[in-house]
C-alpha cells in the first residue's frame, strides 16, 4: 500500500490558525507528524522606523488574549533603552497587571478551550464538545471559569483603563499611581477568586486518574525546561534570570542574565511553518529542545512563595522524581499558577508601598539597544530592540513562548498520533487527541507569527503520489 498523509486543518480551540499533517507508512502507521503554523504577521518588520516609546502600545496589538505580556516585555526593553531603573512601586504594579493577565489567560485556556475535552470526554460528539456542552452539563464549573476570567480582566481594566490593549504601562514605569479605593476594590474580589481556584484544583486532581492514557502519551518525553526564576530560585513572572533544567531535574544553567539570551538560545525556521523554532545552544539541535510555560516553570523552581500555591506545588512535584514530563500536566500547572497569581496579587496589594506616587522614571534614550524579558502565560517572552540616535527602531526580534515550545509540540503530535491514529479509519476522538496535545501547550499563534478566518477542521488522507484518498470536514 502507498504511503499516505492525513491533514488536520485548521487545529481548533487554540489561539490562531494552524494545521497538522500526519504521514503514514505502507501499513498505515504514523511515521512523521508536523504542526504547521499557517498565518504570518511580521510585527518585527513593520515596527522598524517607529519611535521606541511607541513600542509597548504597538507590540500589545500582537495579541488580544495576552496584550499585557507584550506590553510588559516591550516596556522593559524600553526601560533598558532609557537606561533607567524603574521605581519599585511601578515594578510591583506591573507585576500585579502581569499576574491578572496570567490568571485570565489560564482561565480561558483551561475552562473555555480545554475543559470540554476533560469534562465531556475526548470521544464526545464534537457538536457538544465545546463550552456550550460544558454550560449544559456542568454549569457550576462553566460559571466559575467565566468568573475567574472576569476577575483577571476586571483588574486589568481597573489598573490599565481597559481590558484589552491597556496603555498604562509605559517606558520608565506606569503612568498613574494606584488609589486606595481601587486597591480596596481589587482586594475585595480576591476571596471569591481564591475559592474558585482552589475548588477547580481539587476537582481536577480527583479527575486526573481518568486520563491515564493521555498522561502517558501527551508529549510525555524528556526535554529541557526554561523559565525565569528569582534570586532564590523561586517562581518569577516579571523579573529575575533564566534557568534551564533537564528532564532528571538537574539545573543545566542558572541565573542566566536575560540580556545574554542570544548566547543560550538559538532560533531557526522550518520550511513548513511560519513559527520560529528555538533550542538551547550549548546542547545543539535536537538535544537542546526545551519547553516553557506553566509546566516548565513549576518544574524548575525551588518554590512558589505563597502559602497555598506552595502546598499545591509540593504535591505536584510528587508526580515524578525528576521533572514532570507529560504535557497533559500543563493543565494542572496552569491551575496552580492561577492560585499563585491570586495569592501574590493579594500580597502585593497589601504592601503599603503599592500606593506610592513615585511610579515613573524619566530619561532620554541612553542606550541603542534594549532587551525585555517576562513570563507570559504561555512561557518566556523576549523583546529585543535596536534604535538609532533619534530613538527610531532599526531592528526588532521577538522570541515568543509558542516558538520556544515548537519542537516539543511537534514531537508531542508525533507521539500522540502514533498512539491513537491507526491507518485508514479516521475517527473524531482519535483526531481530537492529536489536537488536544497542542491545546495542552495553549499555543498563541497570533503572538508567535506576528489572521482572520473561520475555524473548521479538515482532514485529508493522501497517497504518496498526492491522490486524495479520504476527506473529512467539520
Amino acid at each position: 500500500m502507498a504511503r499516505q498523509r492525513i491533514v488536520i486543518d485548521p487545529v481548533t480551540r487554540i489561539e490562531g490558525h494552524s494545521k497538522i499533517t500526519l504521514h503514514l507508512d505502507e501499513e498505515g502507521r504514523v511515521q512523521e507528524a508536523y504542526f504547521h503554523v499557517t498565518q504570518f504577521r511580521g510585527f518585527e518588520k513593520f515596527c522598524e522606523g517607529r519611535p521606541f516609546y511607541e513600542m509597548p502600545s504597538l507590540m500589545a496589538r500582537i495579541c488580544g488574549i495576552c496584550p499585557v505580556s507584550h506590553l510588559i516585555a516591550s516596556a522593559k526593553a524600553c526601560d533598558a533603552i532609557l537606561a533607567v531603573r524603574i521605581p519599585e512601586p511601578a515594578a510591583k504594579l506591573r507585576r500585579i497587571l502581569n499576574l491578572a493577565q496570567i490568571v485570565q489567560s489560564h482561565a480561558l485556556s483551561f475552562f473555555y478551550l480545554s475543559s470540554p475535552d476533560l469534562l465531556l470526554g475526548m470521544d464526545a460528539d464534537p457538536a457538544t464538545r465545546n463550552i456550550f456542552g460544558v454550560m449544559q452539563s456542568h454549569p457550576e464549573l462553566a460559571r466559575d471559569g467565566v468568573r475567574l476570567r472576569q476577575f483577571g480582566q476586571q483588574i486589568i481594566e481597573w489598573l490599565g483603563g481597559k481590558r484589552i490593549h491597556p496603555a498604562w504601562v509605559v517606558p520608565g514605569g506606569v503612568n498613574e499611581r494606584l488609589s486606595v479605593e481601587r486597591r480596596d476594590q481589587i482586594l475585595a474580589t480576591i476571596p471569591g477568586a481564591l475559592a474558585i481556584a482552589q475548588r477547580t484544583l481539587d476537582w481536577f486532581k480527583n479527575t486526573m486518574e481518568q486520563f491515564r492514557e493521555e498522561i502517558r502519551t501527551f508529549a510525555n518525553f524528556p526535554s529541557l525546561f526554561l523559565g525565569l526564576v528569582n534570586r532564590r530560585g523561586g517562581l518569577e513572572h516579571y523579573d529575575g534570570n533564566l534557568r534551564f533544567l533537564d528532564s532528571t531535574g538537574k539545573i543545566v544553567a542558572d541565573q542566566v542574565n536575560p540580556d545574554t539570551y542570544a548566547d543560550a538560545i538559538a532560533e531557526f525556521v522550518n520550511p513548513w511553518s511560519y513559527l520560529k523554532t528555538t533550542y538551547y545552544k550549548p546542547l545543539g539541535y535536537p538535544d537542546g529542545i526545551y519547553r516553557v510555560g506553566p509546566l516548565a516553570r513549576l518544574n524548575l523552581i525551588n518554590g512558589c512563595g505563597t502559602e497555598r500555591a506552595d502546598q499545591e506545588w509540593a504535591e505536584f512535584r510528587q508526580l515524578e522524581r525528576g521533572a514532570v514530563l507529560s504535557s497533559f500536566y500543563f493543565h494542572y500547572a496552569r491551575l496552580i499558577e492561577i492560585l499563585y497569581g491570586i495569592e501574590k496579587m493579594e500580597q502585593l496589594l497589601n504592601d503599603p508601598e503599592i500606593l506610592s506616587s513615585h511610579v515613573r522614571a524619566f530619561a532620554r534614550p541612553n542606550n541603542r539597544e534594549g532587551i525585555g524579558v517576562a513570563e507570559a502565560p504561555r512561557g518566556t517572552l523576549i523583546h529585543h530592540y535596536k534604535v538609532d540616535e533619534q530613538g527610531l527602531v532599526t531592528w526588532a526580534n521577538l522570541v515568543i513562548a509558542t516558538g520556544h515550545n515548537n519542537s516539543a509540540m511537534n514531537r508531542g503530535v508525533l507521539q500522540v498520533a502514533r498512539h491513537f491514529v491507526h491507518g485508514h479509519q479516521l475517527s473524531e476522538g482519535m483526531l481530537n487527541r492529536v489536537e488536544a496535545v497542542i491545546r495542552a501547550f495553549d499555543p498563541c499563534l497570533s503572538c508567535s507569527t506576528h489572521a482572520a478566518g473561520v475555524p473548521a477542521l479538515e482532514i485529508e488522507l493522501r497517497a504518496a503520489d498526492g491522490t486524495l484518498l479520504d476527506q473529512v470536514r467539520r
Binding site: 473555555y112 463550552i131 456550550f132 449544559q136 454549569p139 460559571r143 467565566v146
Partner: protein, 164 residues
Amino acid sequence: MTPEVLIIGYGNPLRGDDGAGWRAVERLREGTRDGEFGLVAVRQLTPELAEAVSRASLVLFLDAREGGTPGKVWCERVNPRQSPPGAFSHHAGPAALLAAAAAWYGRAPAGMVLSVSGESFAFREGLSLPVEAALAELVERTRNIAGKALSRRSAPCHKIKRSE
C-alpha cells in the same frame, strides 16, 4: 447593580459600518441620565457578559448586519439558543448569551436585536453615509423601546430553574 434595561452595542469600530452598535451606544450616553439604562460598548459579545445580562429585564443588542439596503434599521426579538459548535470560546451571538445567562444564572431576560444594514465593513474608521444617516433612527428606536419597558416595569422574562 445592573439597570433593568441593558443596552449592548457591539462591533469593531475599525471595520467601517461594523462599528454602528458601538457608535449608537456613544450617542445614547450623551442623552441618558446616570443609571437610566445600562450602556455597554464592546467589540464582541463574550461569555463574561452573561451575568450582567441575567440581571436585566430586557437586553437590547445594537449591531450592524450584512444584507438589505444600507441604512435600513431592523428590530427583531431574540430568544435563548445555543450556538453552533466551536462558537463561544471568544465570542457569541445574542441568543447564545441569553442561553448562557439562563444556564449559569438561572434567568434569561427578554432580548431584542436592533441592527442597521451596513454598506462597507472594510478596514477604516467611521461609518458609511447611509449608516451614519440611519444612526439617529437606531438610537431613537432603542430609546423608545427601553423607555416603554421601563414605564411598564414588567418586561417579559424567561425564568429558568437553575440546574445544580
